[in-house]
């Protein structure tokens, strides 16, 4: 999961942002060819477009905005296919936007064992 801080994103010089974005594209091509990207996932529109459906005592409530007030927001996600945690960390460290302040990547293992439903 790729996260960043919108306030810091806005402060990035547009040319630099463009350059990083270009290298993100290259990153997917390169690692896709290596077989490390199982699913490119999705890039999300900014949180200003977010709508949340939350628990309410009288049933789900629809509200404008993201889930919480955190400064960091999830900007997208990808599914990677690697041997172990070290390989996941090594790949993640090459994510081009990490050179920008406020950017973080969260690594989460995926549930793969659904045998309880069988």
């Amino acid at each position: 999961m790729f996260t960043s801080r919108p306030d810091l994103d806005e402060a990035v010089d547009p040319d630099r942002a463009k350059d990083v974005y270009k290298r993100v594209y290259d990153w997917f091509v390169e690692n896709g060819q290596k077989g490390l990207i199982a699913d490119g996932g999705a890039e999300l529109h900014p949180i200003t477009t977010a709508t949340s459906v939350k628990h309410g005592d009288d049933g789900p409530v629809v509200v404008d905005g993201p889930f919480n007030e955190a400064k960091e927001v999830v900007g997208g996600f990808s599914v990677i296919e690697v041997a172990d945690m070290d390989a996941a960390v090594a790949l993640t460290k090459t994510w081009p936007p990490l050179e920008l302040p406020g950017v973080a990547v969260e690594i989460r293992p995926m549930v793969e064992d659904y045998s309880q439903f069988e």
């Binding site: 172990d84 945690m85 070290d86």
Partner: protein, 413 residues
């Protein structure tokens, strides 16, 4: 590496367990493709061994005994976890007791337990249980933490190793140096915990001795890693002086007053050899520099004969790797020993650290000492009071209560 000097059966038991437990965890994890289950099975065997061996003595081949017990537990656990039925068929039926390549197995396990993806406080606890063969109650006693909290922490870390795919292997060359740093940090922490708590009630495990042993395992398994030799040298020097740290009455005896004939001079000579091995690799680092400082003390014939100039120089080098305020504090203490002309300069260096070390008792203890040397006795007494108010360790408190803390070097007590 000096042998653990703990007398009695429990000491022997602890030795055997730490030799065997980690290796067994690694092997069972491989055989059963399940680290969590393997660790649980070995922990069970360790608990059984402690009960049985204490009663009837160790068996002729403790490793084989433990393996049989652990394997039995593992199969039991597999049977209980019905959804993992298939594993029973996958597990090899008979495994001969294997004494070879134990270090590789143990090392891979150690790297997994110290992985940076695990919570910091869980790394040491998990290492002690899975690699060193300590039981959860023993660990809880050593750290004065609630047993249930500790058990939960360990369970969480074990699950993460399994679900997040943390491999039980020695990392690839590109990341080895970085990952080794984390491993060495955990072992250093383990030693410090053991060192500090040695003032407390008698323990059934010698944590500091176990840390020296584990540092030795790492260095001999990765003989090209200079910092690994640096750490085992450092811990060997510190441990060699351990016997002289407490008086017969249980009071803390600081370096200047320690009876140097009670130091383990065989261990000190061994530590020097380790430091030579480290130096031959031409890759200086913070543990080697700390070890070199410890060596200055350990090989000095007397307190008065200490080579303070050398120590100040080593602290300057150390500060390049570790610019922390505590290193600067220790450098200032060494500087003050160079002679009366240097005390005022040392005090100024210490005072410059005030905003960062305000909550650290040794900052105030150092100020107290330097102020007292300069004849500012009222200010010295105030600083000593501040130090006392910030100290929780019983032996250290007693020392501060009876007199000024005279030698607050990190390696000085």
């Amino acid at each position: 590496v000096t042998p653990n000097k703990q007398p009695g059966t429990d000491g022997l038991l602890a030795h055997t367990l730490r030799e065997e437990a980690g290796v067994l965890v690694a092997r069972l994890a491989r055989q059963f493709h399940d680290f969590d289950l393997a660790e649980e099975a070995v922990q069970g065997a360790v608990v059984e061994a402690l009960e049985t061996w204490r009663r009837s003595g160790s068996p002729d081949n403790p490793g084989a005994w433990l393996q049989t017990a652990a394997r039995h537990n593992a199969l039991d656990l597999v049977r209980r976890r019905t959804r993992q039925d298939a594993l029973v068929h996958r597990a090899p039926a008979v495994t001969p007791y294997d004494a070879g390549s134990a270090t590789d197995d143990r090392l891979g396990l150690l790297f997994a337990c110290c992985h940076p993806a695990l919570a910091q406080d869980a790394r040491l606890a998990l290492t002690l249980r899975a690699v060193v063969g300590m039981t959860t109650p023993q660990i809880a006693r050593a750290f004065l933490v609630n047993e249930r909290t500790l058990a939960q922490r360990i369970v969480r870390a074990k699950r993460k190793i399994v679900t997040a795919g943390i491999a039980l292997t020695v990392p690839a060359d590109e990341v080895l140096a970085e990952r080794l740093c984390d491993v060495l940090a955990v072992i250093a922490l383990m030693y410090n915990e053991g060192f500090v708590s040695s003032a407390g009630p008698t323990q059934d495990r010698d944590l500091a001795g176990d840390a020296v042993w584990l540092a030795g395992v790492v260095a001999t398994s990765l003989p090209r890693e200079a910092e690994a030799w640096g750490l085992v040298a450092l811990l060997t020097f510190q441990h060699a002086r351990a016997a002289a740290r407490f008086s017969a009455a249980g009071d803390l005896v600081l370096l200047p007053e320690q009876d140097r004939s009670r130091w383990d001079h065989v261990a000190i000579a061994a530590g020097e050899q380790m430091l030579v091995r480290a130096a031959e690799l031409h890759a200086p680092g913070p543990f080697q520099l700390r070890a070199a400082i410890a060596a200055c003390h350990a090989t000095s014939p007397s307190w008065a004969g200490t080579d303070w100039l050398q120590i100040v120089t080593l602290f300057d080098l150390l500060a390049r790797h570790d610019p922390s305020p505590v290193v600067r504090l220790n450098r200032a203490v060494a500087l003050s020993r160079l002679g009366p002309d240097h005390v005022a300069e040392a005090l100024a260096d210490v005072d410059a650290l005030a905003d960062r070390l305000e909550g650290y008792h040794l900052f105030h203890a150092t100020r107290a000492e330097l102020l007292s040397v300069l004849g500012h006795h009222d200010e010295a007494a105030d600083a000593n009071d501040r130090a006392l108010a910030l100290t929780t360790n019983v032996a250290e408190r007693r020392l501060l209560t009876t007199r000024l803390h005279r030698r607050p070097l990190e390696d000085g007590s």
